[in-house]
């Protein structure tokens, strides 16, 4: 058994298990922490698959920034509320789980039909594709073939930042100097 097989068989159960544990937690903070575990296992898979740059990005952006943001909002909105188990639609939970199992089975059958369960990767990925390191190889592809989409994402990020400022700002009543003077006159009268 080679190293990557051991890594896969150790981390695959943790990955799926932490995702299911996230579903079963009624407390939002615990769900977020299980999601962090899941993001770390996915980062390990990236490392095994030869995507060391995405491994770093996954940990910094997902497990770091995005989950901190989630936890911050959970704390802001109150952590002590637990979800009610009341169902609005009768039998929603059972049907949803049945559909989830259905989609999993369907996808696995599709994978079997599409690429088969025994397809192995070509062995020379690190020497040929990742020549000079994964980050340098990604930079070559990103800044040559995908340069325009890359610039578009920067616009997207700016638009998102502005949108958040607009959404999250409370409308304050603007008090002008004239208003203040009028209020003072009223008090004096």
């Amino acid at each position: 058994m080679e190293v990557d097989q051991i890594v896969f068989w150790v981390f695959a159960p943790i990955s799926v298990g932490s995702a299911i544990a996230m579903l079963l937690q009624r407390n939002a903070v615990h769900a977020a922490l299980f999601l962090v575990v899941n993001f770390f296992t996915i980062a390990v898979f990236y490392l095994v698959l030869g995507a060391s740059f995405l491994f770093a990005v996954q940990i910094i952006v997902y497990a770091g920034a995005i989950m901190v943001l989630f936890l911050f909002v959970i704390m802001l909105l109150g952590v002590d509320r637990e979800e009610s188990l009341l169902e609005r639609l009768k039998g929603q939970r059972v049907v949803a789980i049945a559909l989830g199992v259905g989609i999993a089975v369907e996808l696995i059958v599709a994978i079997r039909a599409g690429i088969g369960f025994a397809t192995k990767a070509p062995p020379d990925f690190d020497e040929v594709v990742n020549r000079g390191g994964n980050a340098a190889a990604i930079a070559r592809v990103l800044f040559r073939e995908y340069f325009f989409p890359f610039e578009v994402t920067s616009v997207l990020l700016i638009v998102a930042a502005i949108a958040v400022v607009v959404l999250a700002s409370r409308r304050r009543q603007v008090i002008t100097r004239a208003d203040a003077a009028r209020a003072n006159e009223r008090e004096a009268a």
Binding site: E2, D4, F8, A12, V16, M22, A28, L35, N38, F45, V48, L49, G50, A51, L54, V57, Q58, V61, Y62, I66, L69, F70, V73, L77, E83, R88, Q92, R93, A96, I97, L99, G100, V101, I103, A104, L107, I111, I115, F117, A118, K120, A121, P122, F125, V129, A137, I138, V141, L142, P149, T153, L156, V159, A160, A161, A163, V164, L167, A168, R170
Partner: protein
């Protein structure tokens, strides 16, 4: 590398299904949003696995772009959840019935 690529894709399919169930079952808007993140990550894993299988980096670059878009989406989504919470004092999706048909 001796692990078949399809194993990673199978894990990705399972995570996607778990995320789908999360979106359908949970009531807290934040947890629903986390399940959507789980689905996005599952698809990213599939992209990276296929990139390895085909021996080129297009899949990894696409996964990178999807991470950028996911970051923007999370920020806007959380701002919307906070705004809704301010108005309704609730993050339970069952309480948001204004658009009920």
């Amino acid at each position: 590398m001796s692990t078949p690529i399809s194993y990673f894709v199978v894990v990705s399919a399972m995570l996607f299904a778990v995320g789908t169930v999360g979106v359908l079952v949970r009531k807290n808007a934040l947890v629903i949003f986390m399940s959507v993140e789980l689905q996005l990550n599952a698809v990213n894993l599939a992209l990276v696995a296929f990139s390895r299988m085909h021996g080129n980096l297009n899949g990894q670059v696409l996964a990178f772009f999807s991470m950028v878009v996911a970051a923007a989406e999370v920020v806007v989504g959380l701002a919307i959840i906070v705004t809704v919470y301010r108005r309704r004092q609730s993050s339970n999706v069952d309480d948001l019935t204004v658009l009920r048909g």
